[in-house]
């Protein structure tokens, strides 16, 4: 879960990291009021959960309150990478002398939280890592010791921070680490951390991402979730405890297990199709969960075929089969279904589905090819092919699969 800049900076401030004075506004009038209160030059910043807000025109400097109102009017409602701006942060403008980067992140290889600093502030750290990796200094923090002063000093030294700022920098680094640990973050970064004309260090922009697994012990942070971070289908899926990610393709995928779900998407792609989603129904999926999963997949009208791939372990194939039937009964299903059930109670599962006349598959490759062919079949015809009208569809799938096989073999 990602927090907005204004949320992240408020948390930083709570831990003693200096941030600019500023307030959130949802209307141009409010933005004007904030600017009046702050006095002087302000920055109007769109609050959306994507990178590159500045380049998209979502961050502008206003000389006075009138300008702040006009800019807020322009920025509010703006579409930045698919997200509508609903809030702006109006901050007092800083007199920037130097921009640096300071971030905390989980280093999976070292199995430690790592603090990173760079003299290249204000650009994305990924870009610095790719172009000038030597400009990133890192220290790994032992969880029982916490960040030590000497480690923070090493960072300051490594980025060539002027000596008069080192003490303040160490304080900020310690606060950032504390923020990270006490919020159960996966990322906490200040970018840029600036040295102002008045020789002060201040966190001009901030970003915090939280560990979803730890939200249970941070109800106050969980409440900060911006519902726009997920699309409607993804929100719905989370309600059912399903792991769903919306993609751009035409083949809906319902799979149990994250690894198998990814591999199923990959093999669909290998045979020339495009997955419409990632969906893991999880272990031991009950029929109502399966039905919900199919409803969510089919809420995307780009889906032209659905591939159900279940490897029964804890998950029982007969339960899944019942869920599929339940979903078909409650939906006006207008796309072909390709079903592959293997493992626990597969015979019973197949028997249940035999009554529904779905396209069945044995191997994963077989299933993927049939799904790709079925998706093309419906694309080439104006009449709706329904799951129950599967007789003609079986033929389409079979012939389509044969040509796919040749294509697949030639890849």
């Amino acid at each position: 879960m990602n927090l907005h800049e204004y949320q992240s900076k408020r948390i930083f401030a709570k831990y003693g990291i200096p941030i600019p004075h500023g307030e959130v506004a949802t209307t141009p009038t409010e933005a004007r009021d904030v600017a009046v209160r702050l006095g002087g030059k302000v920055v109007v910043k769109s609050q959306v959960l994507v990178g590159g807000r500045g380049k998209a025109g979502g961050i502008k400097v206003a000389e006075n309150a009138d300008q702040a109102e006009a800019l807020a009017d322009k920025i509010l409602g703006m579409n930045i990478k698919g997200l509508t701006v609903k809030k702006v942060l109006v901050d007092e403008a800083a007199d920037i002398r130097t921009e640096i980067y300071l971030g905390a992140v989980l280093d999976r290889a070292r199995r430690r939280v790592v603090l990173m600093a760079s003299s290249e502030g204000g650009v994305e750290i990924e870009q610095v890592a790719a172009e000038t990796p030597e400009k990133i200094i890192t220290v790994a923090v032992h969880p029982f010791l916490g960040l030590r002063d000497h480690q923070a000093r090493h960072l300051a030294d490594g980025i060539g921070l002027p000596r008069e700022h080192v003490a303040e920098f160490i304080k900020i680094a310690r606060s950032l680490y504390k923020t990270y640990v006490e919020s159960d973050a996966t990322l906490a970064e200040i970018n840029p951390l600036v040295i102002t004309g008045a020789n002060k260090l201040i966190a001009l922009d901030g970003k915090i991402s939280l560990d979803d697994s730890a939200l249970f012990r941070h109800p106050e942070l969980a409440e900060m979730r911006d519902p726009d971070e997920e699309d409607a289908a993804e929100r719905e899926a989370r309600r059912y405890g399903l792991s769903y990610i919306h993609l751009d393709g035409e083949i809906g995928c319902m799979v149990n297990g994250a690894g198998l779900a990814m591999a199923t998407m990959d093999i669909v792609n290998f045979y020339g199709g495009n997955p419409a989603n990632f969906l893991d129904v999880g272990g031991g999926a009950q029929s109502d969960k399966v039905a919900a999963a199919l409803r969510i997949i089919l809420s995307d009208d780009r889906v032209k075929a659905v591939l159900i791939n279940i490897f029964g372990g804890i998950t029982r194939c007969d339960e899944v089969a019942r869920g599929v039937l339940e979903a078909i009964a409650t939906l006006t299903v207008q796309v072909p279904f390709v079903v592959r059930l293997v493992g626990t109670n597969e015979e019973e599962g197949r028997r249940i589905l035999a009554e529904a006349n779905l396209i069945t598959a044995t191997s994963l490759a077989d299933a993927a090819q049939k799904a790709v062919a079925a998706a093309r079949g419906i694309g080439g015809s104006t009449e709706d092919i329904t799951a129950t009208g599967a007789a003609s569809q079986q033929d389409t799938a079979a012939t389509g699969a044969a040509s796919q096989q040749e294509k697949g073999a030639g890849v």
Partner: protein
Amino acid sequence: MSILVNKETRLIVQGITGREGAFHTQQMIEYGTKVVAGVTPGKGGEWAIGNVPVFDTVHDAVNATGANTSIIYVPARFAPEAIIEAADAGVELIICITEGIPALDMVQVRAYLDTLDTRLIGPNCPGLITPGEAKVGIMPGHIHTPGNVGLVSRSGTLTYEVVYALTARGIGQSTAIGIGGDPIIGTKFLDVLQMFEDDPATEQVVLIGEIGGTDEQAAAEFIAKHMSKPVTAFIAGQTAPPGRRMGHAGAIISGGEGTAAEKMAVLAKAGARVARHPDEIADIVAENIS
């Protein structure tokens, strides 16, 4: 031979009286695993699954039964405590099935285990199985068959898929182990590769990785330098978009790091044969045999 678990394994189940714990204990016993004790605080003195004694603490369970391995089915918020308790009781091998443990809890657990001789598998993993000897996990036992292929994977069902395909061709497995889908795990690919390399019963290895992190890259380095046995690899998530968590907490491409393409390239360069899709894995393994 095999790695980590076998006929001599004496297993404790932490969380044996819970729904998952009870169900899988039954399954493991049916497979032939020696489940010697269960642990559920507050239920010591009771019996689970017919004749498995339940203890209040792992310490008591180990003392009474001489257990050397523990499997954990307790909920995420209690699992870190369960791992540390098992380690403190001197259990040599701990398998944590639990999904959803906060990453920073695992950073602490891992740092503590660094000071001990305990091996942790997982969390968020299906466990491991030495076919015909011991099943310590949640995988369907019947799809496995004894043999000489070692499997190591970050996934559950995808591993079953591959095992199933191997067994269907009459190719057996020495040990199949799921190391878990979380960002911080106890045992990494390269640890397991070393064990398979040293295991006389393992003749070739299948490595199933996925997007996120750099453990496959570390594995590739190990393969290039130290593996004499053939390795077949597959990486799930070739079509995964960057920045999104694909089910597993650890399956995320962040900052351009951890893509499938990069992992496939380094593994191929290291001498592993890289399958393009899961159905190819068994084909390659079969070719290696003939």
